[in-house]
Amino acid sequence: MTDLLLIAVPAVPLVGALLVRLPRTPGGADRMNRFGASISAAVALTASVLGIVHGAQGLQGSWFVLDRAGACFLAVIAVIGWCSAIVSPTYLASAGKSLFTARRARAWYYTAFYLFWAALLALALVKNLGVAWLLIEATTGASALLVAYSGRRNALEAGWKYLVLTTFGLAVALLGILILFVGLAPHGGTLATLDWQSIARHARGLPHQTALFALILILVGLATKIGWAPVHNWLPDAHSEAPPPVSALLSAALLPTVMLIAWRVVLTLGVAVPHHLADHLMLAFGLASLAIAVPFLWRPMAWKRLLAYSSLEHMGILALGIGFASPLATVGVIIHLAGHALAKSLGFYTAIPMLRHDPASAHRAPRGLARLSTPVAAGAGISLATLSGLPPSPLFFSELLILLGGIAAHQIAVVSIAAVLMALGFLGLAHALIETLAGESRGHRWRSGRTVRLTGRLTVGLTLGLLALSVGAYLLADSHAGASLMRGIA
């Protein structure tokens, strides 16, 4: 029964990718999308509940592993995928020209969207590094088309940059996986050799040099897809040029899901390299991402581009949490992942009414939203306040947990630098928050149409989710929860 349910997790959106092509009218495609998204999300959420309830030791199957960490990632992908699918018709209604012919543009959008979502859902479940690599590579094709969906010159540039950089990065990761496979070949030499459990069991027998070489290549390759500095160049462009529902899926689901794979690599292969080098590598990615992102958070920037640099900052914080490798930091990572996903996607969804009523906001910082539209201002305000780490947002608690986890891991110097960078990031975003809400507004008050009303409803739903996470952060902050999160793979 569990096997069937977990097969259905990626299979339902795959079927959805076919079904959305059937209707002949835009309205029919939208209805099919809502139906497919609701079923897909319901199946994935059921699986994630199963994983959280029964996953203390990790549920294992022929192709999957579902531990509590994987279940949390699965839930996040399901929720963000559903929200993005639900807001997509609103975006498409005002999208105008696209990369595809007008008659089939909507069908192509939904097909690529569902293929991308299916690959992400499968990625959170697979128990094999080689298969995980194939799924990550598979996300690239569909998501590159979605990034360039508008067909504008800037979108083509962003899509092309994303395609080239991530594909070559993943080629480097594949070389690392091949080297690992060569090293582990005496223990089987089959596909199962690359199972997480097999890597964890045999990694200590690998020569240090082989393990280190494989680890560096895999992590550097995956870093290009996660958007960790210094290999993050595609990230601000792709996030700012993609349709807002796709930007949300990229930032809140793709980046963290690939990071889950990097995390599993660190946990399984990291034991084979001396001096905790895997953890140090994560800390280096974390500090570099924070240091690169923070100056951009201080600049007045177009809304989606600001959110993109904030993604770079938050991926850096998550890398630090993984690198500290203490139970407190691990709990912080999970809370941070979920809080960032909800807040960031809310931010991207508010871009839909923003761009519709003020198209120039694609190129300049928004100002005075409070005077233009209360629901949009509420969405943008809650998103930015949460992303800046303002208490009582869950990101305030998660950042605190990660830093305390760092102190528990005796990484005082890294914690000090990170705390300063996070404080600077907070000030930058707090300034942007004030300008966005209370700055001098341009134009008249926006009409409260369908887009604005949908933004209002999403703001209420996602805010409730954020509040629940803040309570969860308080309840989960004990070492027992942290230690059991990744038990399924070791």
Partner: protein, 205 residues
């Protein structure tokens, strides 16, 4: 692994960095995949059936993907000379120097034939360098295929080859990526009147 196969791969990768005509570069990459595929098939009787799958996949790749890229070239026939590109000799010098440096930096990783290890790393590096030193988007797409051929070269020298599932998944991904890259190349050409990727530099902070 014969020296002819490894040297053929390295030299054809260098040639892609130098040649001007897109169609010739596509044929060179097709020849790489074909050579690797035929080699895998000739080895199949001695080692593993997995290599037969590899050989078949490589030969299919040698036929399908270049055909797709040639179609893109036909649709965008009037390609202007790309002014921002370095001269051929300069590109070659950079590629050789960078590939040698990378190959020296990376230690042995356990394949029985040391020459194959060096060649695989060099071909992967040359694939990435193709995307760096060539400005035409189509050459950058060819870089993917060259880099993957480097990985296949290393995979072929494993006693049982790579697992069949990985082989098939890899070729599926490659078909998707190259199809998307070809669609991008056609659209970029349509919008800019050129396939020059250096024209795509509007997004900067």
């Amino acid at each position: 692994m014969t020296g002819a196969v490894t040297w053929g791969l390295v030299i054809s990768s260098l040639a892609v960095i130098v040649v001007r005509r897109r169609s010739l570069a596509i044929l060179l990459v097709a020849a790489q995949s074909l050579g690797l595929g035929l080699y895998a098939l000739t080895q199949e009787s001695h080692t593993s059936t997995a290599l037969a799958v590899t050989g078949t996949v490589l030969i299919a790749k040698a036929l399908v993907l270049p055909a797709l890229l040639l179609l893109t070239v036909r649709r965008a026939r009037k390609e202007r000379l790309i002014a921002t590109e370095l001269p051929a000799l300069g590109r070659l010098a950079i590629a050789v120097a960078a590939a040698l440096a990378i190959e020296q930096l990376i230690p042995r990783f356990g394949l029985t034939a040391g020459g194959v290890e060096h060649a695989a790393i060099a071909v992967l590096a040359l694939g990435i360098l193709t995307a760096v030193v060539r400005r035409a988007v189509l050459f950058q797409a060819l870089g993917f295929l060259i880099a993957e051929n480097g990985i296949y070269l290393a995979g072929l020298s494993l006693p049982g080859g790579l697992p069949v599932f990985i082989e098939l998944g890899l070729v599926f991904d490659l078909v998707v990526i190259v199809s998307v890259a070809a669609a991008f190349a056609a659209k970029i050409h349509e919008q800019l009147g050129s396939g020059d990727s250096s024209l795509l530099e509007a997004l900067r902070d």
